[in-house]
């Protein structure tokens, strides 16, 4: 866990422990509600023994991929912990996939509450996975799937099952099939890329050798909004994930940046400098109805919608240093909500509505990720003493944050829980900037 902040959060604020607790309340019909952030929150411990393969070769390789992917998913998931596979007591040669063949006491004794098991076989030259999820205490199977797949879809097959497990257990949709968009340094500029949550299947969206910056997602997750210098002036564009259907959203003179689509897909907030100063505007997604929301001598930029579309968080330097502000979606009642530090930027409003994540520069000129509670203005520090950590973006379930970190040298993409715990690098190469987490599709 990160230590409490010495600078931004100030002294005397008991931070981290509030969020580490777990609450696993029983809801109706055996559904469980796992609230990351509730006082008694404790992650749900999941045991994931290696999937068995009926044969060597493709089946064994696929079993390995699915095992690794399931463990990755439940490790990064804030609501879960993976019980250390080295501690497992059960004999993998004797245990099968059906409840009568499983000694649940062995899983209780290693601290597991859930058990994911599976096997992969070849069936007429097709790969088939049997996947099971058991409640350890009762020994009851809660989910059972038989899936045909290919070596290329092994990872996504695992993500899909992990999502189904989360939904079975909590009633909420899992996030393991979501994606991350990033800008990445290239030889001639910056290009946009999209990757899976685990860093897999990294694929280019733009390839124009220009500067392509600040990707954000369309509300339906089918495309990206971004700023590009491809026609020289830094204008705002929309593009499909496969790079097709490039269209101009805003080509005003000067900067057209920070395009953010409201959750209902009807409006785009953006920053324009066309009137001689950087101000926040809103327009309809079809480019009509542009109107200006701010009117300050300073820089106003980086709009982020509240999930209900009624408010917008943004950065303003109207009091000198850049700070995080919130205003109504019509521009009324702007209110500063960060009061510590002197460089707070990149607000991203949680899909749950309660928190805004942002980047702050601390007194040692190091950048770290913080959240501010919109209602109480309580500040929480999520990263510390680990290089520069910047540009946070919430997962659609509000439990996780993706960000960039230089803690291992080059700028890589990392994911953490909303309380700052559970930090994992998801990329293997460097040069990544401004990650944006996709919505659920």
């Amino acid at each position: 866990m990160p230590k409490s902040s010495s600078h931004i959060a100030g002294s005397g604020v008991a931070l981290a422990l509030l969020l580490t607790g777990a609450s696993l309340a029983h809801a109706q019909e055996g559904r469980r509600v796992i609230v990351v952030g509730s006082p008694d929150f404790r992650p749900y411990p999941m045991a994931i023994p290696a999937l068995r393969a009926a044969s060597a070769g493709e089946a064994a390789a696929a079993a390995e991929v699915i095992t690794r992917t399931l463990r990755f998913d439940f490790r990064i998931a804030a609501q879960f912990d993976v019980v250390d596979p080295k501690s497992y007591l059960a004999d993998p040669r004797k245990e099968g996939l059906t409840a009568p063949t499983i000694r649940f006491a062995d899983w209780v004794n290693v601290g597991a509450e859930g058990l994911l098991k599976g096997a992969v076989r070849m069936d007429d030259a097709r790969l088939v996975a049997e996947l099971r999820f058991f409640d350890v205490a009762s020994g009851r199977p809660l989910l059972s799937k038989t899936v045909a797949f290919t070596p290329e879809t092994a990872r996504r097959t695992a993500h899909a099952f992990a999502d189904a497990v989360v939904e079975t257990l909590t009633g909420d949709r899992g996030i393991f099939q979501t994606q991350i968009a990033v800008a990445r340094k290239s030889k001639k500029g910056r290009e946009l890329w999209v990757m899976d949550l685990d860093g897999g299947d990294l694929r280019p969206v733009t390839r124009n050798n220009s500067l392509n910056l600040l990707p954000s997602w369309t509300a339906d997750g089918s495309g990206l909004i971004f700023t590009s210098y491809v026609r020289r002036n830094p204008s705002l564009y929309k593009v499909n994930l496969d790079g097709g259907n490039l269209s101009l959203l805003s080509g005003e003179r000067g900067l057209n940046t920070g395009g953010a689509m409201s959750n209902d897909g009807s409006k785009v907030a953006l920053t324009l400098s066309r009137d001689g100063n950087s101000e926040i505007y809103v327009m309809n997604t079809d480019r009509t109805g542009l109107r200006r929301l701010t009117n300050e001598w300073a820089i106003d930029s980086s709009p982020s919608w509240s999930p209900d579309g009624r408010q917008i968080a943004f950065v303003s330097s109207r009091f000198g240093d850049p700070h995080i502000f919130v205003m109504n979606a019509d521009g009324s009642s702007p209110k500063r909500i960060t009061h510590r530090g002197n460089y707070n930027t990149t607000p991203d409003w949680s899909p749950r509505g309660d928190l805004i994540a942002f980047t702050a520069r601390d007194e040692r000129n190091v950048f770290d990720i913080f959240t501010v509670d919109v209602r109480t203005q309580e500040i929480r520090r999520l990263t510390q003493d680990q290089g520069n950590n910047e540009e946070p973006s919430f997962s659609p379930d509000g439990n996780h944050i993706v960000f960039t970190s230089t803690r291992e040298g080059r700028s890589q993409v990392w994911i953490m829980a909303v309380d700052g715990s559970n930090q994992h690098r998801i990329t293997t190469k460097g040069g990544f900037m401004t990650p944006a987490w996709s919505p659920l599709r």
Binding site: A183, G189, R190, L211, L213, L214, T227, R232, N233, P234, G254, L255, T257, G258, T271, S273, G276, S278, I299, S301, S302, V315, D321, P322, Y343, T345, T346, T359, R361, N365, F367, E390, E391, M433, T434
Partner: protein, 182 residues
Amino acid sequence: MLSPGSRAAVWVLGASALSACASSPSPEPRAPVSASPAAEAPALEPLPELAEVASSPHEVTEATVVAFEERLRGALGTVYFDYNLAIVDQAAKDRLSALADVLRELPEALLEIEGHCDVRGSTEYNLHLGERRARAVLKYLVTQGVPERQLRYISYGEERPVDYGSTDAAHAANRRAELRAP
């Protein structure tokens, strides 16, 4: 007549700017190079007698343009800024005033002002800070009588540093507005 390609807004700067501009496609600096852009800017080289050359710009010939450029085109200039600020300091103003003289003499010359930031801080905020720096230079030139139609500006934020280091000197070299002939 002047053709757009032959036009250059030119500004002979002191050594400090040249050192930070080493990666830009500018001619070889004539002045000695000093280590830090924070160093005090040396005095300008004397400007030629522009009034004689270009008091009537429409009579300027290619030969006089070439002569003009050869005399003046030592380097494309750079203005430096303090952290998170877009304020043109007095030393830069003095040099910009001399540049404004040139631009007024050559009303068909165009100048592009590129705003930049150091590599710290957020991508989007730095785009806007870089544009603010470019516009601060533009505004000063306008106050010195340069018609706005001769001026263009663009911000690259932190995307095009001249120094990839993380020292204070590197950051200082990157916080700049580059003045170029478009």
